[in-house]
Symmetry: C2
Subunit: 319 residues, 2 copies
Amino acid sequence: MSAEPARTGVVGLGLIGGSLALRLTAQGHPVLGTDPDPSTRAAAVGAGLAVEDGLGPWLAACDLVAVCAPLDVLSEILHRVAGLTDDRTTVIDVGSVKAPVHRLARDAGLGGRFVGVHPMAGTERSGFQHASADLFDHATWAVTLEEGVTDATRAATVVRFLAERLDARVCVLTPALHDEAAAVVSHVPHVVAHLLLDGAEEFADPRVAALLAAGSFRDGTRVAGTNPARTRNMLAENHEAVGRELARLRQRLDRLATAVERGDRTELLTLLEGVAHRAGSVRHADADLLASDEVDAEAVLRLLGEPGSGVVVSPRRRG
Amino acid sequence: MSAEPARTGVVGLGLIGGSLALRLTAQGHPVLGTDPDPSTRAAAVGAGLAVEDGLGPWLAACDLVAVCAPLDVLSEILHRVAGLTDDRTTVIDVGSVKAPVHRLARDAGLGGRFVGVHPMAGTERSGFQHASADLFDHATWAVTLEEGVTDATRAATVVRFLAERLDARVCVLTPALHDEAAAVVSHVPHVVAHLLLDGAEEFADPRVAALLAAGSFRDGTRVAGTNPARTRNMLAENHEAVGRELARLRQRLDRLATAVERGDRTELLTLLEGVAHRAGSVRHADADLLASDEVDAEAVLRLLGEPGSGVVVSPRRRG
């Protein structure tokens, strides 16, 4: 696969897989999908998708296969997809943790033809009934490749496909950097939302806490409404990076808590101002942009080595 | 003061004091205001408020005086207001921490005629230019009184006034309980927002963190945009309660971090599910409601002793 894929297979038609299939189908791009659940398959047919009954030889007719399944069944599916397809098919996944999936893909024998993908989109909900063609509007997608393993030409094709077909901003990075970043900007914030909510629940008078709850509390605990099993999986799958980031959080918390306990106004202001002064770098990051048609194997490998610059913006084209 | 106050004085016309004066004036309630800053006084006159040049004998003509000033000048102002008024005037403040203000009011000789007030409203902004008559729409107000010190009849009058003039939900509680609750639902969430933002800033590649930042991160760090000096003051003024709550947060964090580091999926799920199951008590607290005209000294003292039930809803009246 070096030009845009001619047909895409979607294995798993939940929130992410269903939305991907709906979006591509709406654009006239040929899609074949499947799901282990018969009622999901029926709903997908009802929504106008072309649906197969299960994994089969049809996968070999897809030059791109997106595996959109939970991590606990991913190993089995990747093995089956590897056996049903050959070198003409590139395989991607859409999970929120990347290093373990790259390992599974290697174990499944996919070698260089596996590319990791993670759409930074989603809702608290799941299932095809919540899927929609516009779920990914304005989303950033991470594309992960392992140097020395992943075929960079395939990765470049996936990047261009996401940028041009899904209007995606794409961030190219290694699985390890992705997982470290996800720990910082997603997994640890989920943990913290739970801890804050826990504090209010354990408060002597939770109804008073609820009555006085300010905007900072409502904002800070919003994602604590996520299904606990899903949050658990996210943390467990990325437990090394999350563990390291939680350790850093504990150090920062200790420093601030000590200043609070001492009522040390000078130290408190120093700590808070330091964060506020640097906030711009995170809140208003202005990444170097690359037009999608500037992306080839060489560009992908270069982006991988350049911190913060691995971004592609879709409809902008060279010239 | 036992009936509704006939005239209210507002000392300090910043975001809170200015909004209070604008709202009461818009309702035809007589208000006299002042501010140490001449340009603020001019802006207030321009907005149709009756403004005095400074503290003076006019305060004695107000049966309610709201001191809306930062804590660092509160002691001086409370002393001056105490000297310029007599037993006919009830004095309130609007600060976000209550126990220290009750101590200052006692030191100023206000005795039973001081009632603590805290509107659970506000924005990241400050100053009269951001004040508005609708800042307090749908807000809950805390009213704090010290048993054995505060005159419960005055507290009841303040509660009714807030409920009926400002359409406030009012939560009646002791200064200590208020400050503990504020630590849990406001001050610690501010700390945590800073810690999360700090984590992303210190990340090896902050631009990657910014690109991948998910909704959980944006929600969780929103209040980290607050002026650091104001956050510092909030934490320093309530440092005992905040310190205790941060210690509890550390314990919860340690428990969860240990489960993450061990990749202990069972323990992780137990911890996350426990929070999720109890979330309803905080997110959907259904307080007992009292109509504003049911509020007298006896009711106020009863509410003070009943956890979670100290709530008044405005326009609802008995019968």
